[in-house]
Symmetry: C2
Subunit: 193 residues, 2 copies
DNA sequence: GCGACAATAGCACGATCGGTCGGTCAGTCG
DNA sequence: CGACTGACCGACCGATCGTGCTATTGTCGC
């Protein structure tokens, strides 16, 4: 990796951390530059505009998300263990400082059309699809009731995750994670029974 | 209502609508002023600072929320009907242009300490408490299993609402509302069975 | 150790930010 | 009538925004 690429990665790491606390739109070129120990113009050598920076942040974070949350889960046995792994990995992911960027960005961008929002929509849809798809491996393994609806399951698991994000991060509820686990287990029970 | 008060209300209506699409922090005094057909200084006759404007927006929206979501539900019979009403009223509330402001503000402010965040935390906590409390009336009416956990129920219902907000508003999923209802019914089933 | 080129800094721009100022004008009260 | 008030405006403040251009530095093949 050349020096330029390394700097770019470092910038995106910092930017993604920053975005998690102030939002994608709350990022300022000046603050980010000083946070990354670079001049503003130094930043512009890597990103042509603020918007393309935001898209790059999403791409970068997405790559990490796949590597840390999705990919490891796929090494688990098909079916319920894999569903569990996906859920647990997400809990870990959301526990990083600032929580899950995609959650934060979702309500920020849901009314602001443009390439950034488009990218985010794609990633969120992919995520729900992944949840549904993994659930489907549980269907074909006979772990779950045959008439269970994978998309509905994804919808509900995502809700549990969102609730955990809110309760844990905004309300500082120390029980948020355990409440989320309880809710998740109830969902699994229902899919099985 | 004096002329000043009327203007103030009109400003807050406009502001709350604006905040729902660009976020509380995304509001700009200039844009809000022109949107409200007022000069910036005319605005500052009503709000001493941007921060106090933001707090006022939350207060104003909260008053509407109580009047349109919580209060009507409390006229329903105690127990399950009241829980249902609360849920349905929220779905209607979140269907207004821009959706629920509190949801949007939650992930925006979860990492930004200050009076605005403090106010939002209080309102969110109140909301979860309302959900739990209404569920409790169902317990004392014998509608639900005696060992059901009202706070856990509130956590899970809130998750369903958040998921509906995301799927409906970001992903434009036309099935979001019906998925939410299905999930909600499942929660009720579990509390009963 | 020199030339080439990538990487970064310096600096300045127009726009816009939140916020303040002096002042106008309709209405109220005595 | 005159004194006063609340509501509002246009102009303007210093700061900061995103974004370019140009100069300087660092790195590496030869």
């Amino acid at each position: 990796m050349s020096k330029g690429e390394a700097t770019r990665e470092a910038i995106l790491d910092t930017a993604s951390r920053l975005a998690r606390s102030v939002g994608l739109g709350g990022i300022t070129i000046g603050t980010l530059a000083s946070r990354a120990e670079l001049s503003k113009s130094g930043l512009y050598a890597h990103f042509r505009s603020k918007e393309s920076l935001q898209v790059s942040i999403l791409e970068h974070t997405r790559a990490r998300f796949v590597a840390e949350v999705v990919a490891p889960a796929l090494t688990e046995p098909r079916g319920e263990p894999r569903v569990r792994a996906l859920f647990e990995n997400w809990l870990t992911w959301d526990s990083q400082p600032g929580g899950c960027l995609f959650v934060a960005a979702s309500s920020e961008l849901d009314d602001q059309p443009g390439p950034v929002r488009d990218r985010l929509v794609r990633y969120q849809q992919d995520w729900l699809d992944s949840l549904a798809e993994v659930f489907r491996t549980g269907l074909s393994e006979g772990h779950f009731l045959a008439d269970a609806d994978p998309e509905q399951f994804a919808f509900e698991v995502d809700g549990v995750m969102l609730s955990r994000h809110l309760s844990g991060r905004l309300l500082d509820d120390p029980n948020a994670v355990s409440r989320a686990r309880t809710a998740f287990e109830a969902l699994l029970d229902r899919a099985r029974a």
